[in-house]
Symmetry: C2
Subunit: 229 residues, 2 copies
DNA sequence: ACCTGAACACCGTTCAAGT
DNA sequence: ACCTGAACACCGTTCAAGT
């Protein structure tokens, strides 16, 4: 149950009305995205889903982008940042755990991953995730500046890979067709490596598998660096 | 000068009209994106830019997404895939060269990088880049299947990082404000690692620097793997 | 004080009508 | 055969008008 935006101090509220809370709006938005797809989320459709009007939404978020940031932070809230669950882990295990946790959170809400190209996470839950990442690295013996650099790099790696979830769908048959001719028209003998891969019957892997591959190699490299490579 | 879509066989054309070519449309689209920003590219604005009409654009591309794919492939066309320029390089140097080349191409057209989340490159130039990457790895002694896996992973790494170019701008002051309170309201003493980084006066790095950092670590890891780690 | 319908200035896409 | 203006069904955002 992640913290929302204006309902963080859930108690002391301007008296009278109950907190119809931005969190409710964000939850509804995420629900629409998960169930009907990102394209189905408009201020109008969301307002209708809440039996409200678009202008009311704008009293909680100054713009659609701000609402989207709320949704992203809602997803970030699903990441485990409890210090207790990291205490027994090495820096490498800790990095692996939180990285996979973030990636899996956006894997559970694949349509929101598309938003990551336009919107760098800036919410409080993102800040908590960042804190945990930095703590894992610093506690693991990394120099503070190196830890900061590494944490920022890891964040881009994770969110960058997650944003690639989108490419798996989205391109319609008609769009592929636009290029099919051009590609089939190419001299395949000039593409020996591609042909070799085809002959080896290599099956394309999923974004998940490729992320794990990249993460392991990168952690290997980090280990090398830390031990003074 | 990258190959376009329907003007690849530039000579043998249905007689009469000159090839008003999809390539011209794509060039104009990229120009609009570079000069006025991605948000300024609409079928209407592009049509006006070409002294044409939207319906005419649809005679060249079945949908806006297909046109966008054309733009992406146009950028991919700026990547050096000439075999001669790779002959003298080790697999690691070759990987580094093509990876940076791709990343820099989208760095020169930052606004197009935003498109990478929604649209996995599928054009002929993307195919040529893929071929060169695979060739570098296979010629470098990688097993064909491992090379395929590695090439796919590298592609996601590069495009994922490139797609993060977008987050640098886009979030407006008003949107950040939505979260400023919530974050400042947080107990900063509960964020010791973040505080330590702030004390160390660490300056945030650019996406470019972080990509290079990640790429080097990853290549280190690959080297380890190749030498039977 | 809070909420609403309607308006404004846009979209992508399609199609009847023109030359 | 090729192109066009206008239409259709949407957008995000704003604002006068209601209670």
């Amino acid at each position: 149950m992640p913290a929302g935006v204006d309902d963080a101090p859930a108690v002391r509220r301007s008296p009278g009305r109950p907190p119809i809370a931005s969190a409710r709006i964000v939850d509804a938005a995420l629900q629409v995205i998960d169930e009907q797809g990102l394209d189905s989320l408009s201020m109008r459709s969301l307002a209708k889903h809440l039996n409200s009007s678009t202008a009311t939404l704008y009293r909680h978020f100054p713009t659609r982008a701000a609402l989207v940031q709320g949704v992203i932070d809602r997803v970030m809230g699903e990441v485990d940042v409890d210090a207790a669950n990291f205490r027994a882990l090495t820096w490498r295990q800790g990095c692996e755990k939180i990285s996979l946790d973030i990636f899996e959170a956006f894997g559970r809400h694949r349509q929101t991953a598309l938003l990551l190209a336009d919107h760098t996470p800036i919410g409080p839950n993102a800040a908590a995730v960042r804190e945990r990442t930095l703590a894992v690295l610093i506690d693991g013996g990394f120099d503070v500046k190196v830890a900061a650099r590494t944490g920022a790099m890891l964040a881009h790696l994770i969110l960058g890979f997650a944003s690639q979830y989108g490419g798996e769908r989205e391109t319609t048959a008609a769009d592929r067709e636009t290029f099919r001719k051009a590609i089939h028209g190419m001299d395949l003998s000039q593409f020996p490596a591609t042909a070799a891969v085809r002959r080896a019957r290599w099956l394309p892997t999923t974004v998940d598998q490729e992320f794990q591959f990249a993460l392991q190699l990168l952690l290997d490299g980090l280990g090398l660096m830390r031990s003074g490579g």
